[in-house]
C-alpha cells in the first residue's frame, strides 16, 4: 500500500522533538506531506498520521528510522501492527472525551490552506457577523458569557460595548499573544495549527467595535507562530477577508503582526500597548482604560488569543450555544494546558467545572517520573501552588478564587514529591525581580528583598522572624503594586508557605 498522504505536525513542540527531520524523510521517500498543527497529545509527538479509508491512523514518537518502515507497509494490518500505532486518531479516547470548540480544527486542518479552513466551517461566524449590526454582534458575545482568557476573566461583551460606544474616527483591536506564563502554550498551538480562526475572530471584533486596524502582539519566543500567522494573513488579504472591503461588506480592516522583544511584563495590557507604540513596556496607571484610551490614545479592544478564537464559533452557532457549556458564571469551555512533570502533557479543552484531579490524573496520567504528585501551580508564575490534597477543586473562576487560587490562562504545572517549595517560592520572587517593569517600589525592591529573605529562611537563619518579615513584604506587594506582577507574586509564595510549611522550617544544625 503506497502511502498517499501523511500528516507530520509543524507545531513548535513537535518540531522540538524531531518533526522537521521526520517530515523531510517522508518527503524524500515520496510521500505527500501536510504539516498540520498538533492534536495536543504532546507526549506522543512527533505524532504522524497516515491517511487511510478508515480515517487517519496515528503513529507515536516517530523517528526518521521508522519512516521507511511506514512507507513500505503493504496493508492496513501492516500499519496497524507497527509498534507506535495508536489507531485512528479521531477515535482516540483522550480526544473524544474532550469538548473541543476553540481547538476543533487544530491538528485536523492544514494551517497553510485557506480552502481547508473554509471546508471545516471557517468564516461562517464572520459571514453572520457582517449581516448583523455592531451592537447585535456585541450582544451575541455578551449572551455567550465569554470572559477574557488572558487571566483576568473580564467579560468580553462588556469591554466591546465600551469600545463600540466610545466615539472616535480611529479605533483598534489588539490581540494579546504574549503568552509569557510558564505552563501555557495554547495560544501558540491554536495560532500555529489554525491561524485563520484568530484572523476571523479579530475581524469580527473589528466590525463589532468599529475598528479599522488590528495588531497582534506576539512574543519573540514564538517564531513558528509568527510565520504561520503572517502566511495566513497574506492569504486572507488575497481572498478578501481582510483589506479595504471585507467580503464586499464595505468594512475595512487591516491586520498587522508585531513581535515583542523578551519582556514578560509586556503581557500586561497597558505595557503591551506601550510596546506596540514603540516605547518601553511600562505599565500605565488606570484609568483611562484601553477600551476608552488605548493604542495611540484611541479606543482599543484588547483581548487574549483564546478569547478572540472563541468568537467565530459564538457568532456561527449563537451565544446561547456557547453559554450552554460550563458552570455558574464561567461559561463555555476552557483550554487547559497540562505541563511540567506530567506523563501525558498537552491540550485538554473541556467545559469549565472539571476538577483539577481529573485533569492531572485521568488526562495527565500522573507524574512523568511516576513518583507521587505533590503540588500543581495553576495559572502561571503568578498563580497559587495547590497541594495534591486540594486537587478536587473544580476548575472555574469562582471556585478557584474560593480555594485561594486562580485559573489564569489555564496552565497547570505538575510537580512530584521531590520539589522543594522554598526554592519555588524563592523563584517566584526572583522572577518578579527580573521581569518587573520597575515603575513601583513594592514590586521592584520588594521582590529583591523577598529573594534575600527566602535565602535566609533556606539557610535556617532566624526562620520564624524571617517568615514574619516575608509575610509583611508580601502584604506590601499585594496592596502597593500598580499591576498584578507585583500584586500577585505573593500568591505562589504565600500558598507555598501555607501548604508546605515543612519546606520553610527545616532543621539547620546550629553553627
Amino acid at each position: 500500500m503506497a502511502l498517499t498522504k501523511v500528516f507530520v505536525p509543524g507545531d513548535a513542540a513537535a518540531v522540538s522533538v524531531g518533526a522537521d527531520e521526520v517530515a523531510a524523510a517522508f518527503e524524500a521517500a515520496g510521500a505527500s506531506v501536510v504539516r498540520n498543527g498538533s492534536r495536543g497529545m504532546l507526549w506522543l509527538e512527533p505524532l504522524v498520521e497516515v491517511e487511510s479509508d478508515r480515517g487517519r491512523i496515528g503513529f507515536a514518537n516517530v523517528e526518521v528510522a521508522d519512516v521507511l518502515d511506514l512507507v513500505s507497509s503493504r496493508s492496513h494490518s501492516d500499519l496497524l501492527n507497527h509498534p507506535g500505532c495508536v489507531g485512528v486518531v479521531d477515535e482516540h479516547p483522550w480526544l473524544t472525551s474532550q469538548r473541543r470548540v476553540s481547538f476543533a480544527r487544530v491538528g485536523v486542518v492544514d494551517p497553510a490552506s485557506i480552502a481547508d479552513y473554509e471546508a471545516h466551517g471557517g468564516w461562517a461566524g464572520l459571514r453572520r457577523a457582517l449581516s448583523l449590526s455592531p451592537a447585535e454582534v456585541v450582544q451575541e458575545v455578551t449572551d455567550s458569557g465569554l470572559r477574557g482568557r488572558g487571566g483576568a476573566g473580564f467579560p468580553a461583551g462588556i469591554k466591546w460595548k465600551t469600545v463600540l460606544e466610545t466615539a472616535s474616527e480611529l479605533k483598534f483591536v489588539a490581540c494579546n499573544f504574549d503568552e509569557g506564563d510558564s505552563g501555557t502554550f495554547a495560544d501558540r498551538m491554536v495560532v500555529e495549527g489554525d491561524p485563520f480562526t484568530l484572523i476571523e475572530g479579530m475581524t469580527i471584533a473589528a466590525h463589532a467595535v468599529g475598528a479599522t486596524e488590528g495588531y497582534v502582539y506576539v512574543r519573540s519566543e514564538y517564531p513558528h507562530a509568527v510565520a504561520a500567522l503572517r502566511r495566513a494573513i497574506d492569504a486572507a488579504y488575497t481572498h478578501g477577508y481582510l483589506g479595504a472591503d471585507v467580503l464586499g461588506s464595505g468594512h475595512s480592516f487591516d491586520l498587522h503582526v508585531r513581535v515583542g522583544a523578551g519582556a514578560y511584563i509586556c503581557g500586561e495590557e497597558s505595557s503591551m500597548l506601550d510596546s506596540l507604540e514603540g516605547k518601553r513596556g511600562e505599565v500605565r496607571a488606570k484609568p483611562p482604560i484601553p477600551a476608552i484610551s488605548g493604542l495611540w490614545g484611541k479606543p482599543t479592544a484588547v483581548n487574549n488569543v483564546l478569547t478572540l478564537c472563541a468568537v467565530p464559533m459564538i457568532l456561527a452557532d449563537g451565544g446561547a450555544a456557547y453559554a450552554a457549556l460550563g458552570t455558574g458564571r464561567s461559561r463555555g469551555t476552557q483550554v487547559f494546558q497540562l505541563a511540567g512533570n506530567i506523563k501525558q502533557g498537552g491540550i485538554v479543552e473541556l467545559p469549565f467545572g472539571v476538577s483539577l484531579r481529573e485533569l492531572v490524573d485521568h488526562y495527565g496520567g500522573g507524574t512523568l517520573t511516576g513518583r507521587p504528585a505533590r503540588a500543581a501551580q495553576v495559572g502561571g508564575p503568578l498563580g497559587a501552588y495547590v497541594p495534591a490534597s486540594g486537587f478536587d477543586v473544580p476548575m472555574d473562576y469562582e471556585a478557584m478564587a474560593e480555594a485561594g487560587a486562580m485559573l489564569g490562562h489555564g496552565g497547570i504545572v505538575l510537580f512530584d514529591e521531590t520539589v522543594d517549595m522554598a526554592r519555588m517560592a524563592r523563584f517566584a520572587m526572583e522572577f518578579c525581580s527580573i521581569e518587573s517593569c520597575g515603575k513601583c517600589t513594592p514590586c521592584r525592591v520588594g521582590s529583591t528583598r523577598g529573594v534575600e529573605t527566602i535565602d535566609r529562611i533556606i539557610a535556617g537563619q532566624d526562620v520564624q522572624a524571617n517568615l514574619v518579615l516575608l509575610d509583611d513584604l508580601c502584604d506590601t506587594m499585594t496592596k502597593g503594586s500598580l499591576c498584578a506582577m507585583g500584586g500577585l507574586t505573593p500568591m505562589p509564595v504565600q500558598s507555598a508557605i501555607k501548604h508546605f510549611p515543612e519546606d520553610f522550617e527545616r532543621e539547620v544544625a546550629p553553627g
Binding site: F185, E221, S275, Q337, G345
Partner: protein, 151 residues
C-alpha cells in the same frame, strides 16, 4: 574615526529605519531588523535610528535597554538558551542550566549559555534553543549531541 565599515553600517541601519517609516510605532520592528542583520544594536545605530525616526537618542536608548532581545554587544559564535520556567524546573531544568553553564567552554569556543523563561514547550521540558532552534526533552547528553559540530 569613520572607517568604511562603520559608514556602511550606519547606511544600512538608516535604510532599515527608512523602510519602516510609514508604519505606526516603527521602533521595535526597526530594532529587531537591526539585530537580525547586524547581530546587535551599536551606539552609532541608536543615533542613526533616532535621526531617521525623529526620536531623541535618549528615547531610543531607553527602549533598547528595556528589552532583553536588543543586545548591545556582538553575539557569541554559538548560543544555547535554556528555559528556567517552572514547568521546565519540575523536570530538572535548574540543574541542567547550572551544569551547562559550568561546562560551556567544553561545548566549544565562544559559546554563550543564556537563560530564558518559557518557550511555550512546557509539556516537553526541559526546553531550550540551540543557535535559535527549539528543542525539547533536553539533557546533558542531548546538548552534547546538538553541539557536536562546534568542537
Amino acid at each position: 574615526m569613520t572607517t568604511a565599515a562603520a559608514t556602511d553600517r550606519v547606511a544600512l541601519v538608516r535604510a532599515i529605519a527608512q523602510q519602516h517609516l510609514t508604519e505606526r510605532g516603527p521602533l521595535l520592528p526597526v530594532l529587531h531588523e537591526v539585530v537580525e542583520e547586524l547581530g546587535h544594536v551599536a551606539r552609532e545605530d541608536v543615533e542613526a535610528i533616532a535621526d531617521v525616526l525623529n526620536l531623541s537618542v535618549a528615547e531610543v536608548h531607553g527602549v533598547v535597554s528595556f528589552y532583553h532581545d536588543f543586545r548591545t554587544t556582538p553575539p557569541a559564535a554559538h548560543r544555547v538558551a535554556l528555559c528556567r520556567g517552572e514547568a521546565c524546573q519540575s523536570v530538572g531544568a535548574e540543574e541542567l542550566y547550572a551544569e551547562t553553564r559550568g561546562r560551556s567552554a567544553d561545548l566549544g569556543d565562544g559559546v554563550e549559555i543564556a537563560e530564558v523563561f518559557c518557550l511555550g514547550n512546557c509539556a516537553l521540558g526541559p526546553s531550550g534553543t540551540v543557535d535559535g532552534r527549539l528543542h525539547g526533552r533536553l539533557s546533558a547528553d542531548r546538548i552534547d549531541a546538538l553541539t557536536e559540530g562546534w568542537r
